[in-house]
Amino acid sequence: MQFVPEAADLLAAIGKLLDEKVLNVVPPDLQHQVRVAAHLSTLLEREARLGPAGAARERELLTGLLGEEVDNPNDALAARLRDGDDEAFEAAAWPALVEIARMDLAIAKPGHDRYEGE
């Protein structure tokens, strides 16, 4: 068992350091990479906090859709969509995939799902 700080707190500190201190002092050709690194640190912070609950909910949604417990429900759903020809099943998959995408976005790009247009 590691002592504190937890992973999320360390990643937040790394992101803050890169964004607020390092970005301003690196040469121009490195700035974009440092900006991306800062962004990834805060993304990983959110993943450390939100990832486990999201993964559990994703498994629950996919298992409900598939109607059975399988080792890798993501692969199983992808295969069923690829090989199947069932428009009702595809329509039922849509809201589940939207909910999963919202959870992915809460980590990867918070706010992206506020726009529901085309």
Binding site: H32, Q33, V36, A37, H39, L40, L43, L62, N74, D75, L77, A78, A79, L81, R82, E87, E90, A91, A93, W94, L97, V98, I100, A101, R102, D104, L105, A108, K109, H112, D113, Y115, E116, G117, E118
Partner: protein, 333 residues
């Protein structure tokens, strides 16, 4: 990079113009990830020319060679497409680290957020959208045989939509992870495969915000012709700049964050293009799925050690954005 190429450019231009040329004010444009765009001044006698050298470094994957890209830009310019004039092309030799062409430097903004700031300040969003539509219609009016050097062709057989779908499926099958949202997108595209276009046209394939030069007066040039296809569905070209990814937070302005679809299509039709809303939507879904898979492909380059860049690593974590955009486009009725 900029300073290193100065002697090669000076040597080449002196030879080409038959007089001593001096090179100054070199700087590298931020546009273009794989290719180098070097802005510079070339002075011959009393005259100074503001130019850009586009260099494809040796070892980079070539989509269209610089000669094909220059050839299609030549013809496009004759037909009134906004494009920087190409002065010279060099396909061989090692003057600047790879094949290159030299074109006129067109002043203006290319970085999307700066472009959108300028567009907002000047109130020219609808103008830019209309001008982009006009340029695409003029491009689509060209007979592919008029381009002196062959452009790339589709990788898969069949009409444009069939070939695109086969390409997507093949790309997805190369990925180590399966994504149900991609499969739902593929299924949607399969079920709604459009009829082929009445006439296939040259397809630029990447006229998004980021590949355009915009000034106070509007659209000044369409850049980055390296991926231009010899023939395809013109609606592919219209749909691509409408992806949410290229609106840079101006989500309610479908075309590049500039304006809605109406002025864009009005410009396209006024310049002789035939718009088809059904095929436009199909290609918009196709483009969104293709870019989602494309971002995954960038990350595979990182994971396999081919492109050790943190920027490419980050691309994989952008996949959910495109999956969201895809799901919004294929919402069941």
């Amino acid at each position: 990079m900029p300073v290193e190429v100065a002697p090669g450019l000076a040597h080449y231009l002196s030879e080409a113009w038959g007089q001593d040329v001096t090179i100054s004010n070199l700087s590298q444009s931020t546009a273009g990830a794989r290719r180098h765009n070097i802005l510079f001044d070339a002075t011959a006698g009393d005259t100074t020319h503001h130019l850009v050298a586009t260099i494809v470094p040796f070892g980079e994957t070539i989509i269209n060679g610089v000669d094909a890209e220059a050839a299609v830009r030549d013809v496009a310019e004759k037909y009134g497409v906004a494009v920087p004039h190409v002065h010279l092309v060099r396909t061989d030799g090692d003057l600047v680290g790879g094949p290159f062409f030299i074109s006129e430097m067109v002043p203006g903004e290319t970085v999307p957020r700066r472009v959108l700031r300028l567009v907002e300040e000047q109130g020219i969003g609808e103008t830019v959208a209309r001008q982009l539509g006009e340029s695409l219609a003029r491009l689509h009016s060209i007979e592919p045989s008029e381009v002196a050097v062959p452009l790339r062709t589709r990788e898969f057989e069949g009409p444009p939509a069939v070939a695109a779908l086969a390409g997507l499926r093949a790309q997805i099958d190369l990925m180590p992870l399966r994504r149900p949202a991609w499969e739902l997108g593929l299924k949607w595209l399969e079920r709604r495969l459009p009829d082929p276009p009445e006439r296939e046209t040259i397809v630029h394939s990447d006229t998004r915000n980021g590949n355009l030069i915009v000034g106070e007066d509007g659209l000044r040039a369409v850049l980055d012709w390296e991926g231009t296809l010899a023939s395809g569905d013109p609606m592919q070209d219209l749909a691509w700049p409408s992806l949410r990814m290229w609106r840079f937070r101006n989500d309610d302005r479908e075309i590049g964050g500039f304006a809605g679809r109406d002025p864009f299509i009005a410009g396209y039709e006024a310049a002789g293009g035939n718009y088809d809303a059904g095929r436009f939507h199909w290609w918009k879904v196709e483009g969104t799925l293709r870019w989602s898979v494309g971002l995954a492909g960038q990350t595979m380059g990182f994971l396999e050690g081919r492109v050790p860049s943190i920027v490419m690593a980050a691309s994989g974590r952008r996949v959910p954005e495109l999956e969201w955009d895809l799901l919004m486009l294929i919402r069941p009725s």
